[in-house]
Structures are given as structure tokens and as C-alpha cells.
């Protein structure tokens, strides 16, 4: 087996950066490239029966890169034979240029917390994971060692070097092997212990690359506020947005969803939510309203099946005019905030901005469509987190023992109520249910 260049996995290596620097004419990314086509044509297992599925230019390659991920996540339509070229190491040079074109287009046009940015980061993690898996094991170990040294200067970095990874929950500290402050990622162990370390090595590489990608998107985004991006990047970003929106389009009369959005049912709220709505005393008040209630009410009302579908929707996918958000959800949150002691906004008026931010509309007084995507739409806190951060509202009942998130409680309770009333419906809501 031939040696695999780390450029194929790590777009942030010095070699990759130099390659991109040397290549750079954005005006030519729409031109057909015979070398690229040649590599694709000679990729083992590549389907060639539909020209529209073969990228001839870097522009098309960029779109295919995102499309691969969307289709893979969507399952039914996914035909891996059309995407074999993505896993051919010979494509590394084109791939790394495409990565930067995509990152610059997305970073310039969209907020780093937007759905588009997140899908790009997720796709990068998935590509890296799959590429690593396809490399022969001994070569894989060599590549991983080299990338670890490229990104962390060592195969035994200090754990605080992984601070951003931990902060963004890309990896857990309890998944690592630590000794004297160092994370053991090298090949010095033996037997099964080394095999466990190997699994950690494989897991950490995509996490590191996605973290770097996010930081790069932030840089590009900041830069784009000062310098007008190249028009071709703006066009590409628009094309990516359209392609992603198509994937998230919800037909009005869809009936496919197991757990449908509907008016909020107070009786089905879990104890922690009921206690929060009654009002919380200072100390736990801010977290209860901003971190727990905001996510819970918005998802319960608009997208209760989030843990089942696991698709990063936006509020406006379900509430295009924001009518429900402004007239149903926010008034309930604000009322609960008023019930607190002392009333939340009296003490901390800036928490209104934080509530808007948790709904995905950035730090603004009220949500508006033009700000959507500036922040992420946060899912409600898990039971585990509630127990740590808000023990005062957590008064579990028997149903709580079976679930891991208040939203799952809500769905389960609604289903139980429905079954009691109608005596039918076999769709048991799952998602975040305990084993």
C-alpha cells in the first residue's frame, strides 16, 4: 500500500497550507479540470453512469462534498458508488483546495454558529473519520502519529491543550488516558491497553480537525466583515444554502413525523419544568429560565422530535413568520421569568438577549428572521445537567427514572395521555430514553 499524505486527512498541515497558497486562483474554480476528472474516472468502484454526479470542477467538487454528507445522513437516497472519489488519496490536492474554498464561502457568508457552518463542520468530521477507516491499519497509525505531531506538537500533549475540544464537547475528559497531566496518545503501551489508546487516537483526529475548522470559520467571518469576499465565494455560499435548505424543507401537509408539533400541553410537562414555571429563587433563577425553560418550551412547541430526528433545524423551519415564537413561546418564558424571586428581568435585563440567543437569533432583544443563525438553537438541558446545575427544580417522579431529557418526558407523557384517551397509536416516542 502506498503512503498516504496527511494532506488527505488534515487540511491544516503546513504542507496543505502551502499547497493551497500555490494553487490559488478563485476565478478558475468553475473551469473543468481534466486531471480531477481523470482521478475520479480511475477511482476503484466509482460509478460513472451519470455525468451530473461527477464533479468536473472545483466548484462542483465543493458542492458534492456537502451533498455527500447530506445524502449519507438522509440514508434512503444515498448511493455511495457516486462518491468513491472522496476516499481516493490521490484526490488529496484537489480536496484540500476545495476544503478551503468551501470554508471561505461558508465562513464569509454565514455565522460560524449557523446551520450551514455546522453542516460543513459535521461533514468534515465524517469525511475524516471515513478516510481514516479506509486506510490500512499500519499506515493509519503512521498518519495519525504524524497528524498528532502536526496539530499538537506531540503524541503526549498536556490535557489543557485540548481545552477547546473539551469546551465544545467534541471529546470527553473521561474518554482519555491521563498521566501526570499528559494525554497518552502514543504507541508506548502494550496489548489491549494500546488497542484502547489506538481507538482514542482515531477518535481525536476528527475532533481536532473540526475544532480547527470552526476556528478558521470564525477568522474568515471576522475578515469578511472588513473585506468584501470574492463574488464567486458568495455565489457558492448561496448554492450551498439552497442545497441544505432543500434537505430541511418541511412540506406543509407532512404526516410522517411520529411526534407532531402541537399546542403546548402543560399537564405533560415534567416536574422540573413545572417548578421552573412557578418561579425560581435567585441563584438558580437565570439558568432555569435561560438554559432550561427556553430550550424546552421552544422545542416542545415546534420540534418535539429533535432527539429522534437529530436534524439541526432552525426555528423558522417550523415557524416561518415567527408568529408562534413571539406570541406563544416567549410570553410563557417571560411570565416564568416574572414569577422568579426577584423577577429575572428586574435584576438582569440582559437575560432577554440571552433567551433570544438560545433560540438561535443572536444577542438581540427580540428574535427576528434577519438575525437567525447568529447563534445555535439550543436543545433543553439533559436530566444529568439539571441534576448538577439546577438540583432545586429537579424533583423526579416515576416517569423521570426512565428518561434522560425533559423533552423526552414530555413526548412520553403526551403519548401516554393520548393512548389513555384513544386506546390506540403504536408509535412509542423514543429518543434519549434510558436503556
Amino acid at each position: 500500500m502506498a503512503m498516504v499524505s496527511t494532506v488527505f486527512i488534515n487540511p491544516f498541515s503546513q504542507e496543505a497550507k502551502e499547497l493551497v497558497k500555490a494553487s490559488g486562483d478563485l476565478d478558475r474554480i468553475m473551469e473543468e479540470d481534466a486531471r480531477l476528472l481523470n482521478i475520479i474516472e480511475y477511482t476503484r468502484g466509482q460509478r460513472l453512469d451519470d455525468d451530473s454526479r461527477i464533479p468536473g470542477s472545483l466548484w462542483e467538487f465543493a458542492i458534492k462534498r456537502i451533498e455527500w454528507y447530506l445524502e449519507k445522513k438522509g440514508y434512503q437516497r444515498y448511493q455511495p458508488g457516486y462518491y468513491r472519489f472522496l476516499f481516493n488519496p490521490q484526490i488529496a490536492e484537489f480536496d484540500v483546495i476545495t476544503f478551503y474554498v468551501l470554508a471561505q464561502a461558508i465562513g464569509a457568508k454565514f455565522n460560524p454558529n449557523s446551520r450551514e457552518s455546522r453542516i460543513f463542520m459535521e461533514s468534515e468530521a465524517e469525511i475524516v473519520k471515513e478516510r481514516l477507516l479506509r486506510i490500512e491499519s499500519r499506515e493509519r497509525e503512521r498518519v495519525i502519529s504524524k497528524i498528532l505531531r502536526e496539530m499538537l506538537d506531540s503524541e503526549t500533549p498536556h490535557w489543557t491543550q485540548l481545552e477547546k475540544l473539551l469546551e465544545n464537547r467534541r471529546i470527553k475528559l473521561t474518554e482519555l488516558i491521563l498521566k501526570d497531566g499528559e494525554v497518552i496518545l502514543d504507541k508506548s503501551a502494550t496489548g489491549r491497553t494500546q488497542q484502547v489508546i489506538n481507538a482514542i487516537r482515531e477518535k481525536i483526529i476528527p475532533a481536532l480537525i473540526v475544532q480547527e475548522t470552526q476556528e478558521y470559520l470564525y477568522k474568515v467571518h471576522e475578515m469578511a466583515a472588513k473585506i468584501e469576499p470574492h463574488p464567486i465565494l458568495t455565489r457558492l455560499a448561496e448554492k450551498i444554502r439552497e442545497r441544505i435548505s432543500r434537505e430541511f424543507f418541511i412540506p406543509k401537509k407532512t404526516g410522517a413525523r411520529t411526534i407532531k408539533a402541537s399546542k403546548l400541553d402543560f399537564d405533560a410537562f415534567p416536574p422540573c419544568i413545572k417548578n421552573t414555571i412557578k418561579g425560581v429563587r435567585a441563584g438558580n433563577r437565570n439558568d432555569a429560565i435561560v438554559l432550561l425553560l427556553t430550550g424546552f418550551l421552544s422545542y416542545a412547541r415546534l420540534y418535539p422530535s429533535v432527539f429522534k430526528d437529530r436534524k439541526p433545524h432552525k426555528v423558522s423551519d417550523f415557524d416561518p413568520t415567527l408568529n408562534i415564537t413571539l406570541n406563544e413561546i416567549l410570553p410563557m418564558i417571560y411570565e416564568a421569568a416574572d414569577n422568579c424571586e426577584p423577577p429575572l428581568f428586574q435584576d438582569d435585563p440582559q437575560e432577554k438577549l440571552n433567551i433570544t440567543a438560545k433560540l438561535g437569533f443572536g444577542l438581540h432583544e427580540t428574535p427576528s428572521l434577519e438575525n437567525e443563525g447568529e447563534t445555535k438553537w439550543y436543545t433543553p438541558m439533559s436530566c444529568e445537567k439539571i441534576k448538577i446545575h439546577l438540583p432545586v427544580v429537579c424533583k423526579p417522579d416515576s416517569l423521570c427514572e426512565k428518561i434522560q431529557n425533559p423533552l423526552t418526558y414530555y413526548n412520553r407523557k403526551r403519548w401516554q395521555k393520548k393512548r389513555k384517551n384513544e386506546g390506540g397509536d403504536k408509535d412509542i416516542p423514543r429518543g434519549n430514553t434510558r436503556r
Binding site: 489543557t160 481545552e163 470527553k172 501526570d180 489491549r192 481507538a199
Partner: protein
């Protein structure tokens, strides 16, 4: 039991006055607080209802001394955070990493007392020693200080590498140090198949920490505890065979109680591990903690900086004069 009459009894306003005028000295506050007193928020409890008097700020020790002598508060607290404007809790600079071990809240207490006693205070000390070992040996942290809080211990870490970590990362440190997650040790075998290792088969890093904490919990069970997912019958079996764990025969123990029951047990033990400390304190960047040197009026003991954990005896070293005189 030693001949101490008034320990663990509430101090009167006169006792407090006596303590702050005759016994308390600014020098008793540890240096890591004294040197940046002007950057910390102070909070006071004047009535025994909780620290309602917050956002207090003292430019220097003299002003704090004046305040304490004059007001003789029920309890005094200072922030784990340093701020540019502590009187507004604004301009956050850094926060210590804190572990709060309260003897009365230890989830497995063979003593079974209602409040705190010598035995559970010793237990708290044992837990503190375990936590410090992990902070040093695994996380490589230095500058670890211990304070006896009156009913337990505060571990205050001032290692420069952790002072600016956010709440999420502190939560992850907490789970690591306390053994809050069941380790998932997956690996690909030589035959290419995915396999997993039990935590006790990997005696290093986090799996070792988890095994140690779980060992502690299981060996300190009284047998009367109600543990999530564990029936009375299983509990009896655990109590019968836990000697195997004492002699590190985890595999045998798992075999005896059955692998499925074992998985349930270990999941529940992970939750108990986390309850050995007050988790909320560790993740809170703006927490106020009892001021070392101040009086814990509820139990009439001094919140004391611990120079040497091994030799520290709260019933000798943290008893105020007014208690000694009255006994």
C-alpha cells in the same frame, strides 16, 4: 468520643462577638486570599438564613477586620473568582477550581449519624485525599489548597492552567476526578471486530480512577441504602460478596452477581461517585465559599486552612477558644 461539649452546637451572637474580637486575626486568612482580597466579592450571613448580604468589597485586610469585628456575622464568605469590579461581580479575571466535600452529604456513611460526627469527618478527609491524588497524578495539577469548612472540606486548586477554564470543562474535570462516567473502553481486535474492556481490566488513567471511586462506594455501603436500579436481593448479594472487591477480584465479583446486574450496579455507582462532592460548587465560576478563618456558627467551628491533611484533626485544630473555655 472526646470531652468536647459544645462542638456542633450553634454559636450565640455573644460567642461570635468574642471570636471576632479576641481570637480572629487577618493573618489566619490564607495568603492566596489575602494577596488579592481587593479583587474578591465578599458575602455575609447575618441571621443564619443564608448569605444575603452580597457584592461586598474590601480594599484591604484592615477594612475587612473592622467589618468583622463590628458586625460579627453568622457566616462570612469570599468568592472563588477574582474580578476587576468585585462590587458588581463584573470583569471576571479567573476562578479557582473547587471541590466541596461535605461530611453530612456523603452518600454512603456507615456512621449513619444525623449531622456530622468524628467518623464521617474522617471519611470526608479520606475522600479529599483521593481527589488530591487524582488532581496531581492524572491531571498534573499543583497549588492545591485544603480548607476545613466546618462540616467538611474545600479543595481549592490555584494551578495557573485551570484558572480560566469555563464551566463545561470544569464539569468534565469533575466527572473525571469523581468517576462520574462508566468508562467505555472500545477497541478493534486483531480480527477487526469491535470489542470492549471492563474498567477494572485497564488499571490506568480514568478507568483506574473510576475503579477506585467505585471500590470506595461499594466498600462503604451499609446495606440499607436505596440505590437506583438495585433490588434488595441484589443489595444483599453485593454485601455478601464485596470482599472480592476488597481483594481486587472484580472479575470474580462480576461473575457472582451476574454481568447484567453488574452493569446496572456500576451505572448507579457512577452516579453515587459524583455525589461524594457537591457538583454545583465545582462548575460554578462565581461561587462564594466560606472564608477560611471565619466562624461556622451553626456548628461552632473555625473554617481552617489545612497545612497538613494527614495530621489535621478538626476536633483539635478548628475549635474556637470560646468552645474550649466552655467545655
Amino acid at each position: 468520643m472526646r470531652g468536647v461539649i459544645r462542638i456542633f452546637q450553634e454559636a450565640t451572637p455573644e460567642d461570635r462577638k468574642k471570636y471576632y474580637t479576641r481570637e480572629w486575626k487577618p493573618e489566619k486568612i490564607p495568603a492566596f486570599i489575602r494577596e488579592n482580597i481587593h479583587l474578591r466579592e465578599f458575602g455575609f450571613d447575618h441571621t443564619g438564613q443564608g448569605p444575603n448580604d452580597r457584592y461586598r468589597f474590601f480594599r484591604d485586610e484592615k477594612l475587612l477586620k473592622k467589618f468583622l469585628r463590628y458586625r460579627a456575622p453568622y457566616a462570612a464568605y469570599s468568592s472563588v473568582a477574582l474580578y476587576d469590579k468585585p462590587w458588581k461581580r463584573e470583569g471576571w479575571i479567573s476562578s479557582e477550581l473547587v471541590f466541596d466535600v461535605d461530611a453530612k452529604d456523603i452518600p454512603v456513611r456507615p456512621c449513619g449519624c444525623d449531622n456530622v460526627c468524628e467518623e464521617c469527618l474522617d471519611q470526608a478527609k479520606e475522600i479529599v485525599a483521593m481527589i488530591i491524588d487524582t488532581l496531581r497524578d492524572d491531571l498534573g495539577l499543583q497549588e492545591i489548597h485544603v480548607v476545613y469548612s466546618g462540616r467538611g472540606y474545600h479543595i481549592r486548586v490555584l494551578d495557573p492552567t485551570i484558572l480560566r477554564l469555563d464551566s463545561e470543562v470544569r464539569g468534565q474535570i469533575l466527572r473525571y476526578v469523581m468517576g462520574g462516567d462508566v468508562p467505555r473502553l472500545l477497541y478493534t481486535g486483531l480480527d477487526g471486530r469491535m470489542r470492549s474492556l471492563d474498567h477494572f481490566m485497564a488499571p490506568l488513567g480514568y478507568p483506574r480512577v473510576f475503579t477506585e471511586r467505585s471500590r470506595y462506594i461499594i466498600l462503604h455501603l451499609s446495606g440499607d441504602e436505596k440505590i437506583e436500579d438495585i433490588t434488595r436481593q441484589t443489595m444483599n448479594k453485593i454485601m455478601e460478596y464485596r470482599d472480592l472487591i476488597e481483594s481486587d477480584k472484580w472479575g470474580e465479583f462480576k461473575g457472582v452477581i451476574g454481568p447484567r446486574v453488574y452493569d446496572r450496579l456500576i451505572g448507579s455507582v457512577a452516579k453515587l461517585n459524583l455525589q461524594l462532592v457537591d457538583a454545583k460548587v465545582t462548575v460554578d465560576l462565581k461561587r462564594i465559599l466560606r472564608l477560611p478563618s471565619s466562624l461556622h456558627s451553626k456548628v461552632s467551628m473555625i473554617c481552617t486552612y489545612v497545612k497538613d491533611l494527614e495530621s489535621f484533626d478538626p476536633l483539635e485544630d478548628a475549635v474556637p477558644d470560646f468552645v474550649k473555655e466552655g467545655s
